[in-house]
């Protein structure tokens, strides 16, 4: 009985420590960290459709007191959740110490209905 209670308590503690998956549609669900991503925080994301193309603006903040560089690219997805068109090229973004900026993007094709932002720091 004692073992059972201890086991149950351990399970409760472990469940409490586990990181919950990001909610669908939330900003966190749109960001895919490729390996390491340190010193930069992803904030609000604004998505709109302008002249038939999906556009996105992603807020990025350097949360350190030194300049940071990151690599990023957008992956555009169709209504079925699968990629549309070719992959984007990786790009470099430099952020000064404590700088906050908005990363603008336009979809590659009118069929794009959603996106993922792939990010990585060196």
């Amino acid at each position: 009985m004692r073992h059972f209670i201890l086991g149950a308590l351990a399970l409760i503690f472990l469940a409490g420590c586990a990181t919950p998956p990001p909610e669908p549609g939330s900003a966190a669900s749109k960001v895919v960290v490729m390996g390491k991503f340190k010193g930069i925080a992803v904030g609000a994301i604004r998505v709109a459709r302008e002249n038939g193309f999906l556009t996105a603006k992603v807020q990025l903040s350097n949360i350190t007191s030194s300049n940071q560089m990151m690599y990023y690219r957008f992956a555009w997805l169709g209504a079925d959740g699968f990629p549309v068109g070719d992959e984007e090229t990786w790009k470099v973004l430099n952020l000064y110490a404590n700088q906050a900026t908005f990363l603008p993007a336009i979809a590659n094709l009118p069929q794009a209905a959603d996106f993922r932002l792939e990010v990585k720091t060196p």
């Binding site: 302008e50 002249n51 193309f53 690599y71 984007e88 336009i106 590659n108």
Partner: protein
């Protein structure tokens, strides 16, 4: 009989074990890389610059809303005003390809394709080699509503410690009839090497 069969089986097993199952020949110092990776080998104009320019210009133009009803566009070569050799035709080819994929524009034969187009029309209409019902008639080519032209320039600065290259790519869409520039955009790229 059994001994001979066993011997053959062992030989077959050994031979199949030694067979190369990898679909690679050679390749000690050669590898295939990501074509979309950021290329920082030198600070001259590179693949990432070409891809970034084409991506940025195409999307800006496609999303601008100016290309309503899939107008016909004539693409002119990008003028290279830098001190480097840059195959600017590859920039326009990438822009054309990506715009074509968006379905927002159609393209008239540009100055390099035009000679082949004229030659083919002449061959079909003047040689007498082809069945008349299959011959493409002259006088039906579609004229461009817009022309797309651009330039790339650079500013290069060197010191004992740094080499800084600043590229500026400009592209404009001009209405052929009115001569008005209906859309313009530019992409700036700075590359610095610390020696």
């Amino acid at each position: 009989m059994f001994a001979r069969f066993s011997f053959l089986a062992v030989i077959a097993a050994l031979a199949s074990g030694c067979a190369n199952t990898s679909p690679v020949i050679g390749g000690k110092n050669i590898s295939y890389g990501d074509t979309k990776a950021v290329e920082l080998v030198t600070n001259e104009f590179g693949s990432t610059d070409l891809q970034m320019i084409a991506e940025s210009m195409t999307r800006s133009l496609a999303q601008s809303g100016i290309l309503q009803g899939r107008p016909v566009v004539q693409v002119y070569d990008v003028k290279n005003k830098t001190s480097e050799y840059i195959d600017t035709r590859e920039i326009t080819t990438s822009i054309k390809t990506q715009l074509m994929k968006t379905g927002t524009a159609r393209f008239a034969s540009d100055n390099t394709d035009m000679q082949s187009q004229v030659d083919q029309l002449k061959l079909q209409n003047q040689s007498g080699l082809y069945k008349k019902s299959t011959v493409s008639k002259t006088g039906n080519m579609v004229a461009a509503k817009y022309r797309l032209e651009g330039s790339i320039s650079s500013i290069v600065k060197r010191s004992a410690d740094y080499k800084d290259v600043f590229y500026k790519f400009s592209l404009q869409l001009v209405d052929v009839e009115s001569g008005l520039a209906e859309w313009m955009d530019e992409k700036e790229i700075r590359k610095t090497t610390e020696r």
